[in-house]
C-alpha cells in the first residue's frame, strides 16, 4: 500500500517538475476556463443550436488534445492521431486542432524540418498558471528538449546578427523551384530536410547550426522521422537557363505535345516540364495562348525579348489584355509595323487571348478606346493616321473620302449633341464614336482603317506604358530621396552625440589636470614644511624619481 502511495506521490512530484513551453502570447490559457480568444476563433462551439458543438465538448476536445501532445512534447502531434481518439465531426475537430497549433499550445517544442509556423516571439517565455495536473512551469528553458535551449540561445545571438536582407535578385530573380533553401545566416544553399532547423524563425544550415551550438547535440534530437523526405533532389529541382530556354522554344514549336517537348529538353521528363511551365510567371498564359491559337505558330519571336518585356509587363495596367487580345485576331493582316510592335507581339503571346468573339473587331476597338481614355485614343488615332498617310498617299485619300461620308451619315444622329456641346472632351469622344461608326459603315478602305486602328491602340498602349514607367521612376526617386534623408539624419544624430561626448571628455580632462596641480601643490607645501622643520631630506633616490615620472604633462 505504502509503495503505491509513494509511487503516486513521486509521479506527482515528477509531473510537478515537468515544464512545458508555450509562447508568451498564449499566456491567457487556463485549464479551467475558456478564454475570449477561444470563443472568438471557434464561434460554432459557443453559439448553441448544435448537439455536437457545445462549450463542454470544446473543452473536452481541447484538454484531450493538449494532454495528448504533452505525453511526448518533442514529438509532433498530428491531426490524424487525434481524430481517431475522439468522437465528432472531423471538420470542427480540425478547427480546434489548428487553433491550438496556431497559439502554440501544441506542437510548440517540436523541432523538426516540418515546422512551418513562425514563432510569435523570439525569446520564449513559458507561462502557465493553475495547471490541472500539478504542472508547474518556470520561465527559462524546458529541460525536456535540449534543442529548445539551443534555440533560445541562438535566438539571443540572432538578435545581434540579422539575416541578410533580401535583395532585388532574391525577390525578382529566377525562381528555381526546389533549388534549395537559403540559410539565414551564411546565405548559402542547402538541402532541405536533413540539415535545417528553424531557430527563432530563421532557417539555418547545418554548418551554422554547429557553429552556434558548438556541438552536434542538435542532430541527436532531430530524429529521422521528423525530416522532410528529401526525395526531390533529382534533376527535377534545378532548372538552368538553357533548359528553360529549350523548354520555352519547345512549347512554342510543339504547343501541347508534351512528349515532343520533353524530347526537346533532353534532361527533363514530361512531368517536370509541365510543372516548370506552370510555375513560370507567364506559363499558364502561354499554355492558354498556344492551345487556342495554334495557327499563329509562325510568329515565333526570340525568347530573349521575353525578359525585358516581362519587366514592362509587370507594370502595365489591365487594359493591355484587351489591347493584345484584339490585336491577335488581326495579326495576320498586319505587315511592316515598326519595331516597337515587335515587343508588343511578344506580349501578345504572353497574354491569354481576349476573345470575346461575339463582338466584332471594330466594336472591340471602340470599347478599348473608351477604356483607355478619349484624349489618349484621339491623339493616338491622329498620330496613327498621319503615319499611315505619310506611308501611303492612297490611305490619305481613303480617309478623306471617308471623312466626307462621315459627316453626312453621322450628323443626323449626333446633331443634337453637336449643337449642345462645345467642350473639348466631348468633341474627342464623338470623334472616337465617329471613327468607330464610320469604320463599321464603309468597307472601302477597310485595310487602312484596320491598320490605323491597330496602330492607334498600339500607340495608346505605348503611351500608357511610358506614363506608367515614368511614374514608377518618380516613385523610385522619391523612395531613394527618403532613404538618403534618413541616412543623413542618422549621421547628424551620431555627430551630435559624438560632440557631446567630446565636451564631457574635455571637462573631465581639465578636472583631472586641476587635481594633478592640486596634488603637486600639496606635495610642494609638505616639502617646504619639512625643510623648515629641519628634517633632512630623504636619501631615497627612488621616491623623487617615481614622482618625476608622474609629471608628464
Amino acid at each position: 500500500m505504502t509503495q503505491c502511495f509513494d509511487a503516486g506521490l513521486s509521479t506527482r512530484k515528477c509531473r510537478e517538475r515537468e515544464l512545458y513551453a508555450i509562447p508568451i502570447s498564449s499566456s491567457w490559457f487556463k485549464w479551467d476556463e475558456i478564454h475570449e480568444s477561444e470563443r472568438r476563433s471557434l464561434p460554432e462551439f459557443f453559439e448553441g443550436g448544435s448537439y455536437s458543438r457545445s462549450p463542454r465538448v470544446y473543452k473536452e476536445y481541447r484538454d484531450f488534445i493538449i494532454n495528448k501532445y504533452r505525453e511526448d512534447p518533442s514529438k509532433r502531434l498530428t491531426f490524424t492521431d487525434v481524430r481517431k481518439c475522439v468522437v465528432g465531426d472531423v471538420g470542427s475537430l480540425r478547427k480546434v486542432f489548428l487553433f491550438l497549433e496556431k497559439w502554440g499550445l501544441i506542437n510548440f517544442s517540436v523541432s523538426d524540418g516540418k515546422q512551418q509556423s513562425e514563432e510569435d516571439d523570439g525569446p520564449v517565455v513559458i507561462v502557465e498558471v493553475g495547471p490541472a495536473a500539478g504542472v508547474r512551469v518556470v520561465s527559462g528553458s524546458s529541460s525536456s528538449s535540449s534543442s529548445f535551449v539551443d534555440s533560445a540561445q541562438a535566438g539571443g545571438e540572432s538578435a545581434f546578427r540579422l539575416p541578410p536582407l533580401t535583395s532585388y535578385s532574391d525577390a525578382f530573380g529566377e525562381w528555381k523551384p526546389g533549388s534549395g533553401l537559403i540559410c539565414g545566416f551564411c546565405g548559402g544553399h542547402y538541402r532541405s530536410g536533413l540539415n535545417e532547423s528553424l531557430n527563432a524563425g530563421i532557417a539555418m544550415c547545418s554548418k551554422c547550426l554547429h557553429k552556434y551550438t558548438g556541438n552536434g547535440k542538435i542532430e541527436d534530437d532531430l530524429t529521422p522521422n521528423d525530416h522532410v523526405d528529401v526525395k526531390d533532389q533529382s534533376s527535377a529541382t534545378c532548372w538552368t537557363d538553357t533548359e528553360t530556354l529549350l523548354l520555352l522554344e519547345a512549347v512554342l514549336k510543339h504547343g501541347d505535345d508534351w512528349d515532343l517537348i520533353a524530347q526537346h529538353v533532353r534532361t527533363k521528363n514530361k512531368l517536370d516540364c509541365i510543372s516548370r511551365l506552370i510555375h513560370l510567371p507567364f506559363g499558364d498564359h502561354m499554355l492558354g495562348t498556344i492551345s487556342t491559337k495554334s495557327n499563329n505558330a509562325n510568329l515565333i519571336t526570340p525568347l530573349v525579348e521575353y525578359k525585358p518585356s516581362l519587366q514592362v509587363l509587370n507594370d502595365n495596367p489591365q487594359e493591355f489584355t484587351e489591347t493584345n487580345g484584339d490585336q491577335q485576331v488581326e495579326i495576320n493582316k498586319v505587315e511592316g509595323i515598326e519595331t516597337a510592335s515587335q515587343d508588343h507581339s511578344v506580349k501578345r503571346r504572353c497574354f491569354p487571348p481576349f476573345t470575346d468573339t461575339t463582338n466584332s473587331f471594330m466594336k472591340q476597338v471602340a470599347s478599348f478606346s473608351t477604356v483607355c481614355g478619349p484624349h489618349v485614343a484621339a491623339v493616338a488615332l491622329d498620330a496613327a493616321i498621319k503615319a499611315l498617310c505619310q506611308e501611303n498617299p492612297c490611305a490619305k485619300m481613303a480617309f478623306e473620302t471617308n471623312a466626307d461620308k462621315m459627316v453626312k451619315p453621322v450628323s443626323p444622329p449626333y446633331k443634337n449633341e453637336f449643337k449642345g456641346d462645345i467642350k473639348f472632351e466631348d468633341g474627342d469622344a464623338k470623334r472616337n464614336k465617329q471613327s468607330a461608326y464610320v469604320s463599321e459603315k464603309s468597307f472601302g478602305a477597310t485595310t487602312f482603317q484596320v491598320r490605323a486602328a491597330i496602330a492607334t491602340s498600339l500607340a495608346a498602349a505605348a503611351a500608357r506604358a511610358k506614363l506608367a514607367a515614368d511614374q514608377e521612376e518618380r516613385e523610385m526617386e522619391l523612395l531613394m530621396a527618403s532613404i538618403i534623408q534618413a541616412q543623413l539624419k542618422k549621421l547628424q544624430y551620431k555627430m551630435k552625440h559624438l560632440m557631446e561626448i567630446e565636451l564631457i571628455m574635455e571637462k573631465e580632462l581639465s578636472y583631472v589636470q586641476q587635481m594633478k596641480e592640486f596634488v603637486m601643490e600639496e606635495w610642494v607645501n609638505l616639502l617646504e614644511k619639512l625643510f623648515e622643520a629641519g628634517i633632512p631630506r630623504w636619501r631615497d633616490q627612488v621616491f623623487p624619481k617615481t614622482l618625476v615620472h608622474t609629471f608628464p604633462l
Binding site: 448544435s50 455536437s52 463542454r56 481517431k84 481518439c85 465531426d89 471538420g91
Partner: protein, 256 residues
C-alpha cells in the same frame, strides 16, 4: 449544464454539396476494345457545358486514347451532371447528423483504409483539405492519393445529401398516404449516424475508449508492383464477369 436540445434542424437550403465548395464528384470507367479508362475527379457544376467536351478532348489527347473515347467520356460526365442537376431545384433539409465516412481505396501502389466521422450539416467542410492533411500526416508520397480521397469523400457525401432530398420528396408523397413511411425512412437513415443526444449530452464523453482507437485509425499499405498488377488484373476480370452477368440478366428479363 443541462441544456435543452437546441433546434437541430436548420432552415432548408437549396440542394448543393454540403461542403465549402460546391464541387461534385465525377467517376469515369469506360472500356472500349480492350482499353480501359478509369478516372475520378471533381467538377464545378457552374462551369458551362461546353467545357465538358473540351475537357474530354484534352484528356483523350493527353493520354493518347482512341477518339471514340471523347464521346463516351463526355456522355458519362453529362449524365452524372444531369443527375446532380435533377436534384438541384429541390430543397434539402440538413439536420445535424454525424455520419461515418469510410475509405477503401487503392491508388497505384498505395492502399488506404480508414473511417472517420463527418457532420453532414457542416456546410463549410472541406474534403480536399482533409485529404491533404491525411496524406501529410501519413507521409504518403504518391500525389494521386489525395485527390482520390477527396473524390471518395464527396461521393459519399453526395449519396447522403441525396437521401436528405429524396426522403423529403417521399415524405411529401407519404403525407398523403402512408404516414408510417416517413418515420421508417428517417429511422433508417439515422441508424447509420451517431446518436448525438447520447454522446454529446451531459453524461457522454467525446473521447473514445482506447480499445476502440484502432477502429478509427487509418491503415496504409504500400504494395509492390506485382501485387498491384495482380489486383488490377483481378479487377478487370471482375468487371467483365459482372458485365456478362448483367447482360444475361437483362436478356432474361426481356424474355420473361
Amino acid at each position: 449544464m443541462k441544456s435543452h436540445p437546441p433546434c437541430s434542424s436548420k432552415t432548408p437550403v437549396r440542394f448543393r454539396m454540403p461542403t465549402a465548395e460546391n464541387l461534385i464528384p465525377i467517376r469515369l470507367d469506360i472500356e472500349n476494345e480492350g482499353q480501359r479508362f478509369k478516372d475520378s475527379f471533381t467538377w464545378n457544376p457552374t462551369d458551362p457545358d461546353s467545357e465538358v467536351i473540351s475537357f474530354a478532348k484534352r484528356t483523350v489527347k493527353d493520354l493518347k486514347l482512341p477518339p471514340i473515347f471523347i464521346t463516351q467520356i463526355s456522355q458519362s460526365i453529362h449524365s452524372q451532371l444531369a443527375e446532380f442537376r435533377s436534384y438541384e431545384g429541390q430543397e434539402m433539409h440538413l439536420k445535424e447528423r454525424i455520419v461515418p465516412i469510410k475509405l477503401d481505396i487503392r491508388v497505384n501502389n498505395t492502399v488506404l483504409r480508414d473511417q472517420f466521422l463527418w457532420d453532414i450539416s457542416n456546410l463549410e467542410s472541406d474534403p480536399e483539405e482533409f485529404a491533404r492533411t491525411l496524406c501529410k500526416d501519413l507521409d504518403i508520397e504518391d500525389l494521386e492519393v489525395g485527390p482520390t480521397i477527396a473524390v471518395c469523400i464527396r461521393e459519399q457525401l453526395f449519396e447522403i445529401a441525396i437521401q436528405g432530398v429524396a426522403s423529403a420528396r417521399e415524405s411529401r408523397v407519404g403525407k398523403k398516404g402512408r404516414r408510417g413511411a416517413e418515420s421508417f425512412i428517417n429511422s433508417k437513415m439515422s441508424s447509420s449516424s451517431l446518436d448525438l443526444v447520447k454522446l454529446f449530452g451531459s453524461k457522454g464523453s467525446v473521447v473514445r475508449k482506447r480499445k476502440d482507437w484502432y477502429l478509427y485509425e487509418p491503415i496504409v499499405d504500400i504494395l509492390s508492383n506485382e501485387e498491384a498488377e495482380a489486383l488490377d488484373a483481378r479487377e478487370v476480370q471482375n468487371a467483365r464477369l459482372k458485365k456478362k452477368l448483367d447482360e444475361k440478366e437483362d436478356s432474361f428479363q426481356e424474355r420473361s
